[in-house]
Every structure is written in C-alpha cells, then in structure tokens.
C-alpha cells in the first residue's frame, strides 16, 4: 500500500487494518510487564523530560502480550519464508501496470466499507465524495482498474471504516491483538472488520471458486508492498514488536481524530 519516502519510513502501517491506543486514564499495567517496570523511576526521578508534552500518547493496552508476541514471531517467520517469496515471485511475473490495476480494482471494491464508515460517523459530505470517486473510477477508470480520481484533489478522501466509526462514538480500542498472518488489530477494530466482511462485494459472488480466486488475487497482489513495508519497519526498529504495536495504534488514533 503506502510507499513513502521523503521521510524516514516508519508509519505506513501494515495491513490497512485497524489500531488504537489505550487512553491515559485507564492505567492497569499489562500483566506481562510487571516484572520489568522496576529499573526506571528511582534513579532519575528528579529529571523532567523537557519534551514530554510533545509525546503524550499513552502506550497501547496490551494485556495479552505473551500471546501476541508469540503470534508476532510466527507471523515474522511466515512473512519471511512464505509470503515474501510468494509476493516476490508474483511481482516478478506480473507487469507493474497490471499489479497497480488489480490493486486499484480491489481498492474500488472497498467502496461500501468506506461509505458505511462515513455514514456511521454522519459524514455525509465525505460519503458524497466517496460516491463520486467510486462512480468515476468504475466508469472512466473502467471497473476501477484505473484511478482517474487521483487527478482531483477533492476526490482524495481519507479512508473511513467501521472501526473508526466505533472510535468516534467513544468506544475504546480495547486490548491490542496480533492476528495470525493478518497482523495487528485491537478488539474494537476486529469487531468492525468482521462486520465489514458483509460489505465486501466479493462475498456475494455465487460460485465459491470464483469468490476464493478473487480473495486470493487480492491477498497476493497486496503482498509485495505490504511485505516491503513490514520489513522496512522491522529493519529500522530496535524493538519491532513495540514499533508496530505503537505505530499501528497511533495511526488508528490519528484516523479516528481526522
């Protein structure tokens, strides 16, 4: 998905899914962290970090950390030894314009999710722009393979989804979760995602063979950029688990606030 680069790469968090942070007032220490919170505090109690105000976002609520870390390790191996090679092979045989077209096509199919996300947040103006975008890309863009909407500033709409709507309604992210293969999410966003599966047009294809072929294509087509992002973050991180958990959570929070 995201290819950023005039900045040190870090954000662009994987799997265009979900995230969130635990609000500062609910401070129950994560079960796994209790044995390691001792070192700091005493010896530097008199030091006041002059920059603390700039970084107030509290750490994500992660009570299932041991489990999450195990799945994170499993995912890392799966990405390294299975998914990344598959994505590379696909990228190698598939011409770039085709990859881009397929990616556009599935992004366009995400319209119902974004529309509902907007409507649940009472954002009618953005819902309208999403609809214009969908119509333009489906017609002039030939079923969404092209993305003529990119040429119009007003049709660049922030992506909304159900999890963000829940966030706007004041629902807390809940515990941070790492799903096998799918990666980071949290309870709130997971519920949103399950609901969204009913909004995915691919789910309404009658022949199951075609349905799963479509799902597979979407997954594999998204692999190269997703894996790219993942490994760039891991390579730049001294603690990849924390980097991805916090990056994901903070990005979701930013999306909710947007």
């Amino acid at each position: 998905m995201n290819k950023l680069f005039l900045c040190i790469p870090l954000g662009a968090l994987l799997f265009s899914g979900c995230a969130s942070t635990r609000s500062a007032d609910t401070e129950a220490p994560p079960a796994a962290a209790t044995d390691e919170t001792t070192a700091v505090g005493t010896e530097i109690a008199d030091y006041e970090d002059p920059y603390a105000d700039d970084y107030e976002v509290a750490e994500a609520f992660d009570p299932l950390r041991p489990l999450n870390q195990a799945i994170f390790a499993f995912n890392d191996a799966a990405y390294t030894y299975v998914l990344d090679p598959v994505g590379d092979g696909y990228s190698f045989v598939m011409p770039d314009p085709a990859e881009k077209g397929i990616s556009n096509f599935f992004e366009n199919l995400g319209y119902p999710v974004r529309l509902v996300g907007n409507v649940l947040q009472w954002r009618w103006e953005r819902a309208g722009r999403e609809t214009q975008r969908f119509l333009l890309n489906s017609t002039v863009g030939v079923l969404g393979f092209g993305k003529p909407s990119e040429n119009y500033e007003s049709l660049r709409v922030p992506e909304e989804d159900v999890g963000q709507a829940f966030g706007l309604w004041g629902i807390d992210p809940g515990p941070y979760l790492v799903l096998p293969i799918l990666g980071p999410t949290n309870l709130r966003d997971l519920v949103g995602r399950v609901g969204e599966t009913f909004l995915n047009p691919v789910g309404y294809v009658e022949e199951w063979e075609i349905e799963w072929a479509l799902r597979g294509t979407e997954l594999i087509n998204n692999l190269p950029p997703t894996m790219d992002n993942y490994f760039q973050i891991v390579e730049a991180s001294i603690d990849p688990y924390t980097a991805i958990r916090e990056g994901y959570s903070e990005r979701r929070k930013a999306q909710v606030d947007q």
Partner: protein, 196 residues
C-alpha cells in the same frame, strides 16, 4: 540626491524581505526536499549507490537536528546515559535513521509529487509543515516539525500518517531500557546497524 536614496531604500527593503523569506521554515525544508529529489531524479542524479548515500547523508545532516532527535527519543531515560554515552547514542541513532532513509530509495519508485500545506507556528520557535506525498497512486500524509536553531530551521520530528517517528522510537527505547542499561542498549543498536 533623492534617487540614490530611494534606490538604497528599495535595495535595503528587498534585501530585508529576501532574508526574511530565507529564514522561513517551509523554504528551508522545501529547498532540502528539492535537493533530495535532485539527487534521485534530477539531471545530476547520483549514478551509484555510494554516491547517492553520500549526497543524501550530507543533505540530511544539514536539515535534521540529530542531537535533538536523540534527546527526544530517549525521553526520561536521557539522564541515565553519561555524556559520552549520549554522544555515542546520538551518532549511532543518526546512522540508523540515515541508513533507513537512504535504503528507502532502493526500491523502484516513480518520482513523487508533493503538495505542501500551510505552515503552522508552534510555541517556542517551532513550526509544523504539512505535506502530501503521492507516489504510484498512493498518497501519504507527511508532517515535518522544525525548530529554529542558530538562525536556521532544523527538523526534529516527522509524522507519517499521524505517527510520530520520534514518538515511536521513544516507546521502543523505553521498553528496552526497562530491562537493560544504556551500555547494553547501545550494543543492540550497533548490532542492528551492523546486521544490514
């Protein structure tokens, strides 16, 4: 008599305006970003990987305040590091950031289009410059935060899609420093830099 004086006034005025414009954060930032684009896509683009690395490093060292990034990233753990350790950390961390940045260009990307938003002033001689970077149909929101240091503007944080680079490293370092001391963390940092 009158004309030279007017001419002088006019000159002084344009000079004042020009130097004022010079010290605007967005101008400094855009100049650096243009330099980066020139290294990558311009007619004088770097030919080899080494050349690209050297030239990008020079641009980054000029525009980024790595000392401030280092102190911000360690947060409350800063005083646990001795002055020597702080200097070592600053050096290693800047190496890691620069390397990551340069690596980012090894993938085949098209030339980006960048649109700039209006600069926002922050308290304490600081400013925030929003931008939208579009590459291959994907747009990413990038916000630069700069501080005026010695009559120059330097970057002390970058927010990508709302995620603060420094904020993210703060949490990573803090997590590690709950378990280990500065020396061990520096060793891990060295290992990370050497591993790639």
């Amino acid at each position: 008599m009158k004309t030279p004086r007017l001419a002088f006034l006019f000159l002084a005025l344009t000079w004042a305006l020009a130097s004022h414009a010079q010290s605007k954060p967005e101008d400094k930032l855009r100049a650096s970003v243009d330099d980066v684009l020139a290294v990558l896509y311009g007619p004088q683009a770097a030919q080899t990987l080494e050349e690209r690395e050297t030239r990008l490093t020079a641009i980054m060292k000029q525009r980024y305040s790595f000392d401030q990034i280092a102190q911000r990233s360690l947060g409350r753990n800063w005083p646990r590091f001795s002055p020597e350790q702080q200097a070592t950390f600053s050096e290693l961390f800047s190496q890691l950031l620069i390397r990551t940045y340069v690596r980012r260009f090894n993938t085949e990307l098209g030339e980006p289009t960048i649109s700039w938003g209006p600069t926002r002033t922050l308290p304490g001689n600081r400013a925030e410059v929003p931008s939208a970077v579009t590459v291959d149909n994907t747009t990413v929101a990038v916000v630069y935060r700069l501080e005026q240091i010695n009559n120059d503007w330097q970057i002390y944080d970058v927010l990508v899609e709302g995620v603060s680079l420094v904020g993210n490293y703060r949490k990573q370092f803090d997590t590690l420093l709950r378990r280990q001391g500065p020396e061990e963390m520096l060793a891990e940092l060295r290992k990370l830099i050497a591993s790639s």
